[in-house]
């Protein structure tokens, strides 16, 4: 953290500025916060131009012209830092080459995610959507203050000034000044209450390919992840957790672990027994030598196969209604044709490349955390509770995260709380401790995408028109028994039914019901959350209906989307760009699917081929996306490409299974993910738009599974009803599966 960021938190400056700017409706914390004397003196000596200008919580301009944007969102790969900086720089007319990004401290008052209300955190593909107006105003107000400073200095009207790449120009007098030369005067001005934002036609950065701010450091090995973060005297801890969910420590024998050179301490914490050492290798060997006896009285001991069998039975029992219009049962009863199908979805691990890790420095009165933190406010609260401190005594430094896909935003803050509890058990003496998970810890560690069973039934009239739709979903709630439980309304956890209860197709009689199960297996949102399963069920089933109606999958869907023009438009765009309807050689098949997730619309057409020996390969995916104003088209394309690969790996191979309660997958050999040789070609087409931007981190995942399944049907005549794609189906098509 730089000196300047610390200065932003000094209350004295804010008192001084109380009258200058009241909080806006967007909760923008506006106020002047000057640099301290040291920084100011240094800056003035260096540039003779004044102190940094920090007109609000989101940016700081220094005398050397550098523009530092303060990111309230975690950068976990999706380009949040670049998007955030682009929005600020756009309204500021900053020179992109001089824009830097640093992470915001944990401070929900200034840095709440406006979609989450009062919580600071990143998720739900909301970083751009919730930052859009807030950061445009932040940039625009700062620009206005810099212009006013120049106008005052030159005695010219503000209206005669323009800004180009961080330089203010006055055409009439041919005067110009870089931002750095104006920061001192700008900092003395009141923050404007209102600012006129740019007309989108004047955007210079938004919609163009601003290079990502994090790429150079990620290409030379210098980007700092938690794995790389080191403090003097830091120890490394590995935690031995119970082999069954819900088991607890009965007793342990630390003799073997203690004998490993480098092991410093062996401590019991609520989640297990930790081995604390002066290196990862010592901690790992110590943990291997540690003997723990577990009490599994209250542990989950069922197998996932048995759970799925229970779910199948539950699908025929009464459930809670998530949506009901007309009389679906009667419509299906009276239909000329009926179609039914079920779909089964396994538990899925997020398996981000960086196994979970956190560094904690705990004393009797403070707790400092360094992590790729995705849920700062929740983590602050949970860490405080584990430490026995107040939340205000917990500070969080957010570092780059080596992926997350939802895993680091968990309501119990598992990895953070473990690290804090280990530091506490070690005496809370200020010794920094890094808790490091291994890949095995990650795959065994729970908080999976829940397992689900879907049952669908639909009726078509004699003309092939869809008249009735019944959908029953069975599975665990993500929010039940968490601090978010209050968000469950009338027995419906929206994350269980989104994409199904919100189905866009125009169906006169529809019912969507939810049967919520309970198991001892901890669950969590996984990239694209509910749509990771609902999209497959809906889009695979609608394809079965199109086939039953004797109609093409594209035109059957299209007719049902008149009330959803944006969804219809992406469907049409994907079809057009993929050459939908054009003949394919024998052994090839196309499949289409469309989804809405987090208000972003994505349609994909997958092309698969089956060679003479029956091997299926996924050759190409054409993707159309409407995410409102495209802030950075290249980042959007990257997220679609990545989402497609991530989703494809899951439907082809992904499954966490339990045998008598024990997770059967240990590492990437048994939990397969997509690799280079399996990645299809991807084309991304972005719908031009001036609508407010929506997210792109997750929605690209939703349609790929069903698009590929539908393409496999087109090529082989085989439908897929169990995920991951069953070996039998692939083997029927001749594929050798591993």
């Amino acid at each position: 953290m730089s000196i300047d960021t610390l200065i932003l938190q000094q209350p004295t400056r804010r008192d001084f500025l109380k009258g200058a700017g009241s909080a806006t409706a967007m909760a923008l914390t506006v106020g002047f916060e000057w640099a301290g004397p040291t920084r100011r003196a240094a800056a003035m000596a260096a540039a003779s131009a004044g102190a940094p200008f920090a007109p609000n919580a989101f940016l700081r301009i220094s005398a050397d012209n550098s523009v530092t944007v303060i990111a309230k969102h975690l950068e976990m790969g999706q380009g949040a830092y670049t998007g955030i900086a682009t929005i600020v720089a756009e309204e500021l007319d900053a020179d992109w080459a001089q824009v830097r990004v640093e992470s915001a401290p944990a401070d929900a008052k200034r840095y709440a995610n406006l979609v989450f209300g009062t919580l600071q955190g990143t998720g739900g593909s909301s970083a751009m959507a919730n930052s859009w107006m807030q950061l445009r105003e932040a940039g625009g107000k700062a620009r206005m203050m810099l212009l006013t400073a120049a106008a005052n200095q030159w005695h010219v009207p503000v209206a005669e000034l323009s800004v180009e790449k961080s330089v203010v120009h006055h055409a009439g007098s041919q005067r110009q000044a870089p931002f750095g030369a104006l920061v001192r005067m700008a900092a003395a001005l009141p923050v404007p209450d209102k600012v006129t934002l740019k007309d989108p036609k004047d955007f210079k950065l938004i919609g163009l390919q601003a290079p990502r701010v994090d790429v150079p450091a990620k290409v030379n090995g210098s980007a700092q992840f938690t794995l790389d973060f080191v403090l003097p005297g830091m120890l490394v801890a590995l935690l031995k957790r119970p082999p069954l969910f819900g088991a607890t420590v009965k007793s342990f024998d630390a003799a073997g672990a203690g004998a490993v050179p480098g092991v410093v301490k062996v401590v019991q914490v609520p989640r297990g027994v930790a081995v604390v050492a002066n290196s990862f290798w010592a901690a790992k060997q110590g943990r291997d030598a540690l003997k723990v006896e577990w009490d599994d009285t209250h542990a989950e001991k069922r197998s996932s196969a048995a759970l799925m069998e229970e779910y199948r039975q539950l699908a025929d029992q009464p459930a809670v209604s998530a949506r009901k219009e007309g009389d679906a049962a009667a419509a299906i009863r009276n239909a000329a044709h009926t179609v039914s199908a079920s779909y089964e979805f396994p538990y899925l691990a997020h398996a981000p490349m960086e196994p979970l890790d956190a560094v904690v420095k705990l004393t009797a009165s403070s707790c400092e955390i360094w992590a790729g933190d995705q849920f700062q406010t929740v983590d602050q609260g949970n860490a405080a509770k584990a430490a026995g401190l107040d939340a205000q005594q917990v500070s969080i430094h957010t570092l780059y995260a080596g992926g997350s896909f939802g895993r680091r935003a968990n309501l119990g803050s598992d990895y953070i709380v473990e690290a804090v509890s280990i530091a506490k058990a070690c005496g809370a003496d200020g010794t920094p401790i890094k808790l490091q998970w291994t890949r095995e810890d990650d795959l065994h560690g729970g908080l999976y995408r829940p397992m689900y069973f879907h049952k669908l039934e639909a009726g078509l009239d004699a003309n092939g028109k869809l008249t009735g739709w019944r959908h029953v979903i069975v599975g665990q709630s993500i929010m039940a028994d968490t601090i978010f439980a209050a968000m469950i309304k009338d027995g419906i956890d929206s994350t269980s039914v989104e994409g199904a209860a919100t189905i866009a197709y125009d169906i006169p009689n529809i019912s969507v019901d939810l049967s919520t199960t309970k198991t001892g297996v901890p669950v969590l949102w996984w990239r694209v959350v509910g749509s990771s399963h609902t999209s497959f069920a809906v889009e695979a089933f609608i394809d079965e209906l199109a086939h039953a109606a004797g109609e093409d999958g594209f035109s059957f869907r299209r007719k049902l989307l008149d009330k959803h023009p944006r969804m219809k438009a992406v469907l049409e765009l994907a079809a057009e760009k993929s050459g939908w309807g054009s003949p394919l050689p024998k052994g090839k098949g196309r499949g289409i699917a469309v989804a809405e997730a987090f208000k972003t619309y994505v349609a994909q057409v997958a092309e698969v081929s089956v060679d003479d020996s029956g091997h299926v390969s996924i050759d190409r995916v054409v993707c159309a996306v409407d995410c409102g104003t495209p802030i950075n088209p290249d980042v959007i394309a990257a997220n679609m490409e990545g989402g497609i690969g991530f989703g494809l790996g899951a439907v082809l191979y992904g499954a966490i299974t339990l045998k008598d309660g024990r997770v059967e997958q240990d590492n990437f050999n048994s939990y397969r993910v997509l690799r280079m040789n399996e990645m299809p070609k991807v084309e991304v087409h972005i719908v031009p738009s001036n609508e407010a931007p929506t997210g792109v981190g997750e929605p690209g995942v939703a349609p790929v599974g069903p698009a590929v399944a539908n393409a496999i049907f087109a090529a082989t005549g085989k439908r897929i009803h169990v995920l991951p794609f069953p070996k039998a189906v692939l083997e029927l098509a001749g594929r050798t599966s591993a």
């Binding site: 790429v215 450091a217 992840f225 290196s279 490349m353 990437f668």
Partner: protein
């Protein structure tokens, strides 16, 4: 116990358990943190470094096994192919989370040092041991081709 080898062109002696995987010796003893830990079982490639010019998984290579040899990490990349790879990675904006990219770049560089015009099949062969959970694979492939073209153009 100490192990001596050449690290990024410099004679180096590391005082550590000879059984310690090279990955952790590089990271925690030599202080070179660009090489990442992803699986500990040579399954993901995040820990890829060059041993006498060959890409190896440092998470399963004991420190003692590199005695007297040349080890190159992301921090020590200097060859022409390496620079072409890094330039292409920036040009095509390959990284997302970036965690696996040191390993990807080490594998791609090793490929181009042997094969200046790799086919897609060559790329599959050389790169399928490196997992990217963000699935930047299409850009990795394109960047390797771009780097190969730039090397051809300057050869």
């Amino acid at each position: 116990m100490s192990t001596s080898f050449v690290l990024n062109g410099k004679p180096t002696t590391l005082d550590a358990d000879p059984n310690m995987p090279l990955l952790w010796a590089l990271r925690e003893v030599a202080g070179l943190t660009g090489t990442k830990f992803g699986c500990g079982m040579a399954l993901c490639g995040a820990c890829t470094v060059h041993l006498d010019g060959q890409p190896i998984r440092s998470c399963v290579m004991p420190l003692s096994a590199v005695a007297g040899k040349q080890v190159t990490t992301i921090e020590g990349l200097q060859s022409k192919p390496a620079r072409a790879v890094q330039a292409a990675w920036i040009g095509l904006q390959v990284p997302q989370c970036g965690y696996c990219q040191s390993g990807q770049i080490m594998s791609a560089t090793a490929l181009l040092e042997k094969n200046t015009a790799p086919t897609d099949a060559d790329i599959d062969g050389a790169m399928s041991g490196n997992i990217c959970r963000c699935s930047t694979y299409t850009r990795i492939r394109a960047a390797i081709h771009a780097a190969a073209r730039s090397l051809g153009a300057t050869a």
